[in-house]
Amino acid sequence: MNPAVEVDRLSWTYHLAARPAVCDISLTIPAGEFTLIAGPNEAGKTTLAMAIKGLIPHSFPGRRAGVVRVFGEEVQRKEAALLAKQVGYVFSDPEAQFTSLTVEEEILFGLENIGVPESEIEHRIRRASELTMISDLLDKPPYDISGGQKQRVAIASVLAMDPEILILDEPTSMVDPLGKDLIVEICAELRRRRRLTLIVIEHNLEAFAALADRIVLIRGGRIERAAAPREFLEDPEFLERSGVYPPQVTQVFARLRAHGLYRGPLPLTDEEGIRAGDALLRGAGA
């Protein structure tokens, strides 16, 4: 079976840029995996994601080297419509994605673009809006809903198209905490339910680390590390120096470990941390 995404020595330099945005990057993402892409701003994360989606080189002038393949086929060779069906992309700014006059129409837009038959439309809208918890908003215009809701509408519109790969580019950065939690929940649910390949670009490791199958660190246009979350977060200090903020719980236990006070695996979540801490405190030293 073809991997969902195969990035083969990709380099991309934006038109008029001094240096390449990504440099000789190679990455393989098997189908069904949840990949978290982290790294400082302007490291090339969005460039990589857009190259997978085909926005690069379609919408951006620049110089390319290397190849990106989605399910075995080169992205550049695919038709825009097929690409839209296979790879969904949600941007970070909820404002700039809402292009229709009501929520329902927004979800509908993509469906009509890819030629979904009328008989299926209602069902798809319903499913997508239930999963993103916006079923009661279908009739509302964009100015009547919050940023977090708009972002969930964006996710619904893309999900309704039934893509095999879903890319979320900093989905929570412009959303309030409640909205953030809901989006994380949606990602968790997607993880549980479908055989989607999920790629999320995020600074907020605390929320997503435990959900991911693999975390990739991109810095200066190169991949510096790619590993399963526990392994990835092994050296929080290195990550901090590289511009990534590991979950506080992981940082705490790494420091305790450095003081020789803890020897277990580094926790990733609140629950794991509380348990490890309780054990540590009751068990008098690990």
Partner: protein
Amino acid sequence: MVPVDSPFYRYHPVTRLVLLVFLSVTPLFVDMPEINLGLILAALVLLRWGRVRMQQIRRYLPLLATVALFMFGVAFLAPGDRAHLAAFRLAGLTFYFQPMWWAFVSYCRLVAMLFGAILYFSTNRERDTLVALRSLRIPFAVSYVAALSLRSAGMFMEDFRTIREAEQARGLDLESMSVGEKAKLYTMYTVPLFAVALRRADEISNALFARGYTLSGRPAGGGPRTDYLRRRYPVERRDRALSAGLAAAFVVAVVLGKVMGVFSDQLSPLHGAALRTIGLR
């Protein structure tokens, strides 16, 4: 803005659009103020029937007053070649009949057109207009761009408000500024507006591509666009009847008006009455 529940919604958006054309475009071909006043009355009645809150109409009163002041003011102050005009005195001032009459005719026409538009925009959401356009087989790209523009108008207003606040924080005190000063500082508004709009345009075009949109609006597999929303607006018999009737009435009015001069202002009973009142007949 639009009433939540209005009998207008029982009619197809195209029908409502035809009504707009009838009420707003007919006045262009009609000089006779009685007809235009009748159209205004019809619009007001329909507004009431459509359950539009009359308070909203009050917003337009300052506009109507200003336009009246302007039109009649110009007619009074600059009547043209006085030698060929009939003069009359009122309240110690000299008025000239023809310019005043023509101002009155034009004013009635303008207000009729305005009320037609007011009625339309008070009873149609943006979505209705779009469905109307699409039902008329206007190419999808055109109606979608129209929708985006409408959507952008809303965003534009919000941005403008934010920018005004933001520039206030930079020391822009509009209240205590003269018009000249305000004009000089227009860059404080326009540059941010452009910056925000440009960035957004970029983002929107990316978003469109990401959703598989092609300029023609044709879906991936070829064939016509499903146009799901349009199916939600069934065309009833009364729609066809009403649209046909209004369209026919419009055509008749144009023919009678422009070709046969039936609606000429000289034939207007009011014209005669006015002349008699000021003692010129």
